[in-house]
Amino acid sequence: MKIGAFEELVLLAVGSLGENAYGVAVKELLADKTGKIPSIGALHSALYRLEDKGCLLSSEGGATSERGGRRKKFYLLTAAGRNTLVEVNRLRIEFSKNIEGLNLSLDES
């Protein structure tokens, strides 16, 4: 499966948030890790695309007043999503082996 660079980041963020992955949390994590604040529009369309591709599964949580009475939508990494990330990672590592001084491997990092 093909995913874009930003989608990959979103997928990683959702995966690392575990049970608590919903819009604002993902946005904050991304802002924290990358130092760039993603626009809410870009983030949501990425989330929906990933859901369509089967990388994410969503479920609805409870409504709170600070969300204007709207429910949270929690995302969960699916097996397909996990495979995609593994795929992407493997590709990276393979490439990096061929570049001198860039011996990226799973155990080193």
Binding site: Y22, G23, V24, K27, S39, I40, G41, A42, H44, S45, Y48, R49, E60, A63, E66, R67, G68, R70, R71, K72, K73
Partner: protein, 867 residues
């Protein structure tokens, strides 16, 4: 805006989001946005609202937007693209018209934005107080001679005490003084600041923010002082907390403790001050405030609702008279309430009743702004319909290809909206460019606040309304063209369109004429004010403030000043005689009706006053040094009439416990602005050391004289500021408002006629084009250029004359109304009306003639060769 509204995200973007967002996603998206909004709101509300809007706009993207009926969208989109393309091509093909069109719109919209920014600022004065709608100011109406009532904000202290004690409807009574100048500082480091005395609850009633100190008890102690950030910064640095509990020395007499630092008072407050002292401290030192007959500080009441305010208003009305009854010195004084928020715009009182004020100018300028928009709109309409013949082929072709009438209407609406949108954007740009100059002119710091929703509503509103107004007519007219005629390219527009165009031109020029009439009348009145003989020679007269105890050494000061060669006369007085307010109701004379109380102005002065001021004595004599005149009085004509003796000389007069005789009557002079009639007045030289200003008459080199005066003043009073003003300048300053409005009106009258002429230019070239063959034929048959010029200009000249006839009655009514505000006013001069008519006529006809001349000089071969 109420605070509740800020708790929820802005409504319009939210509605937009709900409209376009996919139903499956709205729950998630809106929830996230609300959560973000709530988090941001805690930092900055306006910013949070803006970010929310931006986020919504960023969400408008494929993947989130719902599935609209796709096919339909495609067609509309394609047609809109086509309309857009055709509109652009057409504008480029007829660059001249497009430019005229845009220029007219941009100038009109930009000017109205400027005006409305000014209006908005005026209306926003004093509106920042949270409890603003509950604050009422107390005013005192004082009955003068001949039933004229003057109104003042100075209110006897016992009245406020009584209201607090006995009126259950009133929850708070706060007092604040007039501005006072005091020397404040630490040790030798002293500077003069302007501040006020205020009562304890002043801070809780009004919303002035403290950055240090406790709002609730900052003014509890007699020796408390609150200072502004500016003053605090000067002595204690930028950490405001540092200033607290430090002591400052006031006027080298007593020490006060800083108990608070407040934010510098902004431009949007009429109450301004750099420090606040306790009113109680002032009251303790000034016994006179406890008398019902003496007006003291401005008094404000906090009343919960307007119903209660009405009850208080009717109960308080006679309160002063009830308490001064039986006191022979008392005047006839009634009390009224006036909502504090309104006092800035409605500050004129006519016989004790509010009768306008700055609101008049705000209204005038609002009307001017609307006029300008209408004039610009008319241009657009006229040019579009006049030009529409050129589009006839296009419309015919569209119809042949199956376009419905509705589609063609849409096209012309689209074009109108496109144009107005571009024009609005350009106008905003223009406004930003000219704002610095405009601010200079009106002496404000206006700016376009893009974080304000109001701004967007206005810009959006103008676009929609202007687009609709200017698009409707072409959008109705053009689709109705006959198919066969229009595809041939020749179309005769129905006769009424020509009439309508003419009617609109008349309307435009009537508005321009009206504005010119208004401007010239304002000019004439201001000229009248500035050159009026006030009864005082106000040229070359300088008033110097006597600081500290300089007035106690008045004689020395005067002698020293008289040695300066350029100085011809020196006197002292208790205030600037052309803008004077001090009065008493305690004057009594033989035969005075004891039940009637009259306020009479009192000027404290010295023996040289009449001579120095260049006043004219009607009868009797001026004060003299040889005779002991300290208990003798000079009165003015108005007072003489009030007292009512045939010959007032040598009659007894007493006030403030001084019994004396009238020794002279001085010719009436204006002791307040020209909105007011001349009030009765007494001049006394009983105690010249109570004067506060020195009045100095200069002849010759003014610059050198000023330097010499400053030297003498500094020598006698080292350390004090040298504070002087020219009396004629001070007089002109009173009419600053009128001068600003006159400058604005002039500029916008010019702009209005400019826009009208742009439209006329377009119409004239259109009709010249239409009649090019006719002109050719006439020329072939021997018509001269001037004959053709007359032929072409004749139609439009008629319109100009009609416009003039229409403008005159309105102009007369409106200007006479305005002039009636003034007690002293210039007469309406028919010449001004004619002048306005001639100006518009000449400019209009010249515009038409210039274009017609072009058409008339074309070689007939060129216009006829196609036949």
């Amino acid at each position: 805006m109420n605070p509740q509204a800020n708790l929820t995200p802005p409504k319009i973007p939210l509605k937009f989001l709900r409209w376009f967002c996919n139903d499956n996603l709205i729950e998630d998206v809106e929830g996230d946005l609300s959560e973000l909004f709530n988090a941001r709101r805690n930092q900055n509300q306006a910013w949070a609202r803006l970010l929310f809007t931006v986020d919504v706009l960023l969400l408008f993207r494929p993947g989130i937007v719902r599935n609209f009926q796709f096919a339909l969208r495609l067609i509309k989109y394609a047609m809109l693209r086509n309309y857009f393309k055709i509109a652009i091509r057409n504008s480029f093909r007829h660059k001249g018209y497009a430019l005229l069109n845009l220029l007219g719109l941009v100038v009109g919209i930009a000017s109205s934005i400027l005006i409305l920014l000014w209006v908005d600022n005026e209306v926003g004065m004093d509106k920042f107080h949270v409890n603003g709608d509950k604050i009422y100011q107390v005013f005192r109406n004082m009955k003068q001679s001949n039933g004229v009532v003057t109104t003042t904000g100075t209110v006897p202290k016992p009245l406020g005490d009584l209201v607090m004690a006995e009126y259950p409807e009133v929850s708070e009574v706060a007092r604040i003084s007039w501005p006072v100048d005091l020397n404040i500082g630490i040790a030798e480091d002293v500077a003069e600041e302007e501040g006020r005395f205020a009562s304890k609850n002043f801070l809780s009633l009004f919303s002035f923010q403290l950055v240090a100190g406790d709002k609730n008890n900052a003014l509890n102690e007699l020796n408390s002082i609150l200072i502004s950030q500016t003053v605090a910064g000067k002595y204690f640095g930028d950490n405001w907390e540092n200033a607290l509990s430090h002591s400052l020395r006031v006027d080298d007499q007593y020490d006060v403790i800083v108990t608070g630092v407040f934010e510098d008072i902004g431009d949007n407050s009429t109450l301004d001050f750099d420090f606040i002292l306790s009113t109680q401290a002032f009251f303790n030192l000034n016994e006179w405030v406890n008398d019902w007959g003496n007006g003291s500080f401005y008094t404000f009441l906090s009343i919960d609702d307007s119903e209660k305010a009405r009850i208080v208003g009717s109960r308080i009305f006679n309160e002063i008279n009830d308490h001064t009854e039986g006191n022979s010195n008392a005047g006839d004084e009634t009390v009224i309430l006036h909502k504090f928020e309104d006092t800035y715009l409605h500050s004129n009182f006519d016989n004790g009743v509010v009768s306008g004020g700055r609101i008049d100018y705000v209204n005038i300028m609002t009307v001017v702004a609307i006029f300008l928009l209408v004039v610009a709109c008319i241009n657009f309409m006229n040019l579009t319909t006049a030009q529409s013949n050129k589009r006839a082929k296009e419309i015919g072709l569209r119809k042949v290809m199956g376009a419905q009438k509705r589609a063609i209407s849409t096209q012309f609406f689209f074009e109108a909206f496109l144009f107005t949108t571009i024009a609005v954007l350009l106008s905003v740009l223009v406004v930003m460019l000219v704002l610095p100059a405009f601010n200079n002119l009106v002496d404000k710091s206006l700016f376009i606040d893009f974080t304000e929703l109001k701004t967007w509503y206005f810009l959006g509103g103008v676009t929609v309304v202007m687009g609709f107004l200017s698009g409707t007519y072409p959008a109705i007219l053009l689709p109705a063209f006959n198919l066969i005629e229009s595809s041939k390219g020749g179309i005769k527009q129905p006769a009424f369109t020509a009439y309508l165009r003419k009617g609109l031109v008349i309307f435009q020029f009537a508005i321009s004429t009206l504005l010119i009439i208004g401007t010239s009348v304002i000019y004439k009145q201001i000229d009248y004010i500035l050159t009026k003989d006030l009864g005082i020679d106000k040229e070359n007269l300088v008033a110097v403030r006597m600081e500290g105890d300089l007035s106690k050494r008045l004689e020395t000061y005067k002698t020293e000043l008289s040695r300066i060669p350029e100085i011809t006369a020196v006197s002292a007085a208790s205030g600037n005689p052309i803008n004077y307010g001090r009065s008493t109701s305690s004057a009594s004379w033989e035969g005075k009706d004891p039940t009637e109380g009259y306020e009479v102005k009192v000027i404290l002065s010295d023996e040289d006053f009449i001579e120095t001021m260049g006043m004219e004595m009607l009868s009797g004599r001026s004060f003299s040094k040889q005779l002991t005149d300290s208990t003798n009085f000079i009165i003015n004509e108005a007072a003489s009439k009030l007292i009512g003796f045939d010959d007032p000389l040598e009659k007894d007069l007493s006030f403030w416990g001084i019994d004396g005789k009238i020794i002279g009557v001085v010719k009436n002079f204006n002791s307040s602005d020209l909105y007011e009639p001349i009030a009765p007045l007494i001049i006394t030289c009983v105690d010249p050391s109570r004067s506060s200003i020195a009045l100095i008459r200069i002849e010759g080199n003014i610059g050198e004289a000023l330097i010499a005066i400053e030297e003498v003043t500094q020598k006698l009073n080292p350390g004090a500021d040298f504070d002087y003003q020219f009396i004629d300048q001070a007089y002109a300053d009173i009419y600053e408002n009128e001068l600003t409005v006159s400058a604005l009106a002039t500029i916008f009258a010019v702009i209005s006629i400019l826009i009208s002429c742009l439209g006329l230019l377009g119409l004239a070239s259109y009709s010249a084009e239409q009649r090019s063959r006719e002109i050719g034929v006439r020329k072939v048959h021997g018509a001269s250029v001037s004959q053709i010029l007359i032929l072409l200009s004749k139609d439009y000249s008629r319109l100009m004359i009609l416009a003039f006839v229409l403008a005159v009655p309105f102009g007369y009514y409106l200007t006479q109304n305005w002039l009636d505000n003034f007690e002293f006013r210039t007469a309406l001069d028919p010449f001004l009306f004619i002048l306005a008519g001639v100006i518009t006529f000449v400019i209009g006809v010249l515009t038409v003639a210039a274009k017609s001349y072009q058409a008339a000089t074309v070689n007939p071969v060129n216009s006829l060769k196609h036949e």
